[in-house]
Structures are given as structure tokens and as C-alpha cells.
């Protein structure tokens, strides 16, 4: 080593461009991983198995309670009785109609809530005095049970669809607005700065950076907004039952109560539950997972 001429090695050791490329390719290969995915059937089994077991267990408990006559039979029918009641309505073609009436209202109300809640949320998130003025109100409205709006809405709008939509909006808009506010609040300032450097300022910045960056929070808000729409709708349908209004799930429940028909009431309860779970499982859950996975925010085991 003693004889090494330092001034010469400095130039001779300079890596050529090819060396660097090879080194870089090696580093890239070492630092990236190919994930292997479990086969589809196993994922499906892992996801569907447990809830099916849970449902089977609940049905069993229910059946035992029925056999033991914990409550009189008219108050606690067996699972089979409820199934029969459901099938009678199904065969009469009523189930689709009832579901359709309620779903149509829920979707329309939800879409209106999105149309109002999104710009409202953006305003609250981005304009300081708007946030100071109505931010707390928005959080407060979220904790107000929407059923409280039914009586005033009926008096303001009468027993009609307007009253129902008003209740749905009052229930869902605050959630959606709040969702986009927290989504925007969680956007790392670095993204905003990076966007400005690229020339995404003003509305371009909102469109190219702020909105996509706040999407996960916004989606969570939409999901909650949907749950609130659906709940508010059921509350409104249950209370504001009138022959002038279409016959939805809430009205089915109300009719069951009037007739003392427990299987009918339970049918309504299960359908309400089923729609809630179905929309979550078929729509929001996959959408949310897709967004999180794309951004590397979902750690798959």
C-alpha cells in the first residue's frame, strides 16, 4: 500500500457509467420485493368463513330461545317463521318494490348529500373564517340523531318525499363535509409545496394535489355519510308513514307494528341490516382498500 500513488488512483478508480448502471440495477433489485399473493380461494374462505359461522351461531341461539319460549311465540317467532314471511312477500313480488323505494331514496339523498357536502367541506377546510364559523356546528350536527329532524321536517315540508330527503340530507351532509375536512387536514404540506413547485397552484392545485391527496379521508367520510343517510332514511320512513308516500322498508316495519305481525317487522329489520352491510361490503370496502393499497397504506399480511 505504501507505494500507491494517491494522485493517480483518484482518476483511475473513477467508476465508469456502466459500472454505475450495474451497481444501481443491483441495488434496485435488492431493495424491491415481489410479493406473492395467497390463492384466491383461501382469501375468500378466510373472509367469508368467520362471518358465516357467526351468523349460524346467532341463528342457533335464536332458535334455542324460541324453543325455550323466552318470550311468547307471537313476540319471538322462530327463524323459520321469519323466513316464511319473507318468502311470501318475495313471491308476491313486494320485496323488490319495497327495497327499490327505499334504495332509490337513499341513493338520491346520498348523491344530493355528496353534491352539497363536498364543496361545503372544501370551503370549511380551506377558508379560515368559514371553518371558525361553522366548523364546530358541523361536528355538533354529526352527533345529533337525525330522527330528531323528522317532526320539524314534516311540519316544514308536509308528509312527502321532500321531508324525507331533508332528514337524509341533514343526517349525511355533516358527515361527508367533515370527512373531506379531515382528509384535507391530513394532506402532508410537502405535497402542497411539491405541487406548487410543479405549477399546480390555485384550482389546479386543488384538482391535481389537494383532492387526490385527501381521497382516503374523503372516502371515510362518504362511507359514514352513507351509513347516516340510510339510518336517517329509515327513521324518516318509520315516523313519516303515509299512504301518499311510497312504500319503503320503514313503512313495512310500521305496518308490521300496526298489524302486530312480528315476522314482518323482523323481515324489515333484516333487510335494513342487509342493505347496510351489502353496500359496505360490495362498494365502500373494496373502494377504500383499492385506494389504500395503491398508496401503499394497506399492509397485506
Amino acid at each position: 500500500m505504501a507505494s500507491t500513488d494517491l494522485t493517480k488512483t483518484a482518476a483511475a478508480d473513477v467508476p465508469s457509467s456502466d459500472d454505475v448502471a450495474g451497481l444501481e440495477a443491483g441495488l434496485d433489485a435488492l431493495e424491491t420485493y415481489e410479493k406473492d399473493r395467497a390463492p384466491l380461494w383461501r382469501t375468500a374462505l378466510g373472509k367469508i368463513g368467520p362471518p358465516i359461522l357467526a351468523i349460524a351461531f346467532m341463528l342457533l341461539v335464536w332458535q334455542i330461545a324460541y324453543w325455550a319460549e323466552v318470550k311468547p311465540r307471537y313476540a319471538l317467532p322462530s327463524p323459520a317463521d321469519v323466513w316464511d314471511a319473507f318468502m311470501v312477500q318475495w313471491q308476491a313480488g313486494e320485496v323488490h318494490q319495497i327495497l327499490w323505494v327505499s334504495l332509490e331514496r337513499a341513493f338520491l339523498g346520498f348523491l344530493m348529500a355528496i353534491a352539497i357536502g363536498t364543496p361545503l367541506g372544501l370551503l370549511v377546510a380551506r377558508v379560515r373564517w368559514v371553518r371558525a364559523a361553522i366548523g364546530p356546528l358541523l361536528s355538533g350536527l354529526q352527533s345529533l340523531p337525525s330522527v330528531a329532524w323528522v317532526p320539524p321536517a314534516v311540519i316544514w315540508f308536509g308528509l312527502n318525499n321532500s321531508a324525507i330527503y331533508a332528514v337524509v340530507l341533514l343526517g349525511a351532509v355533516p358527515s361527508i363535509a367533515q370527512g373531506i375536512v379531515s382528509g384535507v387536514d391530513q394532506v402532508p404540506p410537502l405535497f402542497i409545496r411539491a405541487g406548487r413547485v410543479l405549477g399546480a397552484t390555485g384550482l389546479l392545485g386543488v384538482w391535481h394535489v389537494l383532492l387526490p391527496a385527501s381521497l382516503p379521508g374523503y372516502l371515510a367520510g362518504l362511507k359514514q355519510g352513507w351509513a347516516f343517510s340510510w339510518r336517517s332514511l329509515m327513521a324518516a320512513e318509520l315516523i313519516a308513514a303515509s299512504p301518499d308516500l311510497g312504500y319503503g322498508l320503514g313503512q313495512l316495519m310500521n305496518q308490521g307494528r300496526d298489524l302486530g305481525d312480528m315476522p314482518m317487522m323482523l323481515t324489515a329489520v333484516f333487510m335494513i341490516l342487509l342493505v347496510g352491510i351489502g353496500i359496505e361490503l360490495l362498494f365502500f370496502s373494496p373502494l377504500e382498500k383499492l385506494v389504500l393499497r395503491q398508496r401503499g397504506l394497506l399492509i397485506s399480511k
Partner: protein, 273 residues
């Protein structure tokens, strides 16, 4: 050290690299005149005090300094993310690009689309964007990464995509705010080689902020040492060790030791009160 010239006049900067040999012929790439920055109250202590700095077209300048010397603030001012309290900043050749310590790539876009967004915001027509982005990715040797998600890339690959995105901007000036500080030593060395190559190929003017003396000497044609609180230009070195340099080479080491001594002296001053 024959290759260092102390206190060299700012305008007589080293010749520019690559094909873009325009140093001294036209307007400077960046010119700061008496730039002062005060945060908060106007009579508060300045972060940057009366900075004069000129970067020639195609020049590679490293701003070196301890924490709190305002080097990142200076870069933000040049990038237009903030405004100086006093003085003027002139940037030629379009909106400067800025690379951060964190990659700042948008995770909702694929690697290639991140580059394309920069092209789109610059006004490149849609049908040319993909090809252009692919070329830029090839320039940082990530030809195959177009469809990759940001989280699928390693730290070094992310910074290379970020470099491709910065190069996608039309600006002639590339500002880099400690872009390799968070990388491991091996990756950092490789990226030094790559940056030197790309700088020579593209002829951009680079202002590179770092607190790593060896990195500064490895990369720059000119190293500007800043003092802290207030941030002022303390001293400059022009480096004419031929590129590509090795960070371990005796020339780089010798100059690094000299600059480090100066930097330590600057830091020691703050302990004496």
C-alpha cells in the same frame, strides 16, 4: 491545494458543464441581490441577512452550512415558495424545479404518471407526455418503473423518479434540498455519480443544499459556506477536481477537511456567549 481559489469574485464562476457552455455569455441562471428574510415580526432576527449570490448557467453550486443557517429558506425563496423580506431574486430559464429531502412523489399516481403530471402542468400535449416521461425515466435508469407504484420503489429509486419529475419541468434551474440525506451510503454514492452524469448531459444549473461537506466537494464546481444566525455567506471555494470524482479520493478528502474546519469554526462561534 492548487484547485481552490478563495474568495473568488462571484461572476467569474467556473465554466459550465456539458454542451451548455454558456457561462458568462448571458444572464445568470440565478441572481440574489441583498436578500434578507425575516420570519414573524419585521424587526425580528433575520434568518438570511443580505445575501448576494449569482449562479451561472450550467453551474453546479453547493450551499453548505450547519442547521439554522437558512440554506433551505434560501432555496424556498429561489423556488418562489416564499418571498424575501428585502432584496431581489432573479431566476432565468423558467420556473425552477425543486427536489426535497423526502421524495414528495404523489402516491396516488404511478411513477410514470408523476413525471407526466409535471409535463402536463408545463403544457406538454397529451400525446407526447408518455414518450417524454419514458425518456426521462430512462435518463435516471428506471426504464421499467413506469407502471410502478411509489411505495413499490426503494428510497433511492424514489429519489430518481423525483429527479426525473424535476427534469420534466421546463426550468433551467434545478434546486435540490438535501435530496440524498435520507439514503444509505452506497445508494448515495451511486446517486452522486448519476447526478453528475445527468447534470453534464442536461446542462442544468444546480443549486444543491447540504450539510455534508464531502458530498458538497464530491458534486460542486463551487461550494458556498453559510454562517448561521443570521445566515450569511461566509466563504466560497471553487473546485476544479475533474468529474466524475470519488468521494473517497485524496483531493476530495483534503478539501473536505479544510472546509470542515471552517464550518466547525462557524459553529463554535455560537457557543461563545
Amino acid at each position: 491545494m492548487s484547485q481552490t481559489v478563495h474568495e473568488q469574485p462571484l461572476t467569474a464562476a467556473a465554466p459550465a458543464a456539458g454542451e451548455n457552455g454558456t457561462a458568462g455569455t448571458g444572464a445568470p441562471a440565478v441572481r440574489l441581490s441583498k436578500v434578507t428574510k425575516v420570519f414573524g415580526r419585521a424587526d425580528g432576527a433575520p434568518v438570511l441577512d443580505n445575501i448576494d449570490l449569482t449562479v451561472a448557467p450550467g453551474e453546479f453550486v453547493c450551499l453548505l452550512g450547519a442547521s439554522g443557517c437558512g440554506k433551505s429558506t434560501l432555496l424556498n425563496l429561489v423556488a418562489g415558495l416564499d418571498k424575501p423580506s428585502a432584496g431581489t431574486i432573479e431566476v432565468n430559464g423558467g420556473r425552477p424545479a425543486l427536489m426535497f429531502q423526502e421524495h414528495a412523489l404523489f402516491p396516488w399516481l404511478k411513477a410514470g404518471k408523476n413525471v407526466e403530471l409535471a409535463l402536463k402542468l408545463r403544457g406538454v400535449p397529451r400525446e407526447q407526455r408518455r414518450e417524454e416521461a419514458q425518456k426521462l425515466l430512462a435518463l435516471v435508469r428506471l426504464d421499467t418503473a413506469y407502471e410502478k407504484r411509489v411505495h413499490e420503489l426503494s428510497g433511492g429509486m424514489r429519489q430518481r423518479v423525483a429527479l426525473a419529475r424535476a427534469l420534466a419541468q421546463s426550468g433551467e434551474v434545478l434546486l435540490m434540498d438535501e435530496p440524498f440525506a435520507a439514503l444509505d451510503a452506497i445508494t448515495r454514492d451511486v446517486l452522486h455519480d448519476e447526478l453528475t452524469r445527468i447534470w453534464a448531459d442536461t446542462g442544468r444549473s444546480v443549486v444543491f443544499v447540504t450539510h455534508n461537506v464531502r458530498e458538497a466537494v464530491r458534486l460542486a464546481q463551487r461550494v458556498v459556506l453559510m454562517s448561521s444566525r443570521p445566515g450569511r455567506i461566509a466563504r466560497e471555494w471553487t473546485i476544479d477536481i475533474p468529474q466524475p470524482r470519488r468521494i473517497e479520493s485524496p483531493d476530495v478528502s483534503a478539501l473536505s477537511i479544510e472546509i470542515t474546519e471552517q464550518l466547525r469554526g462557524e459553529i463554535r462561534r455560537h457557543g461563545k456567549h
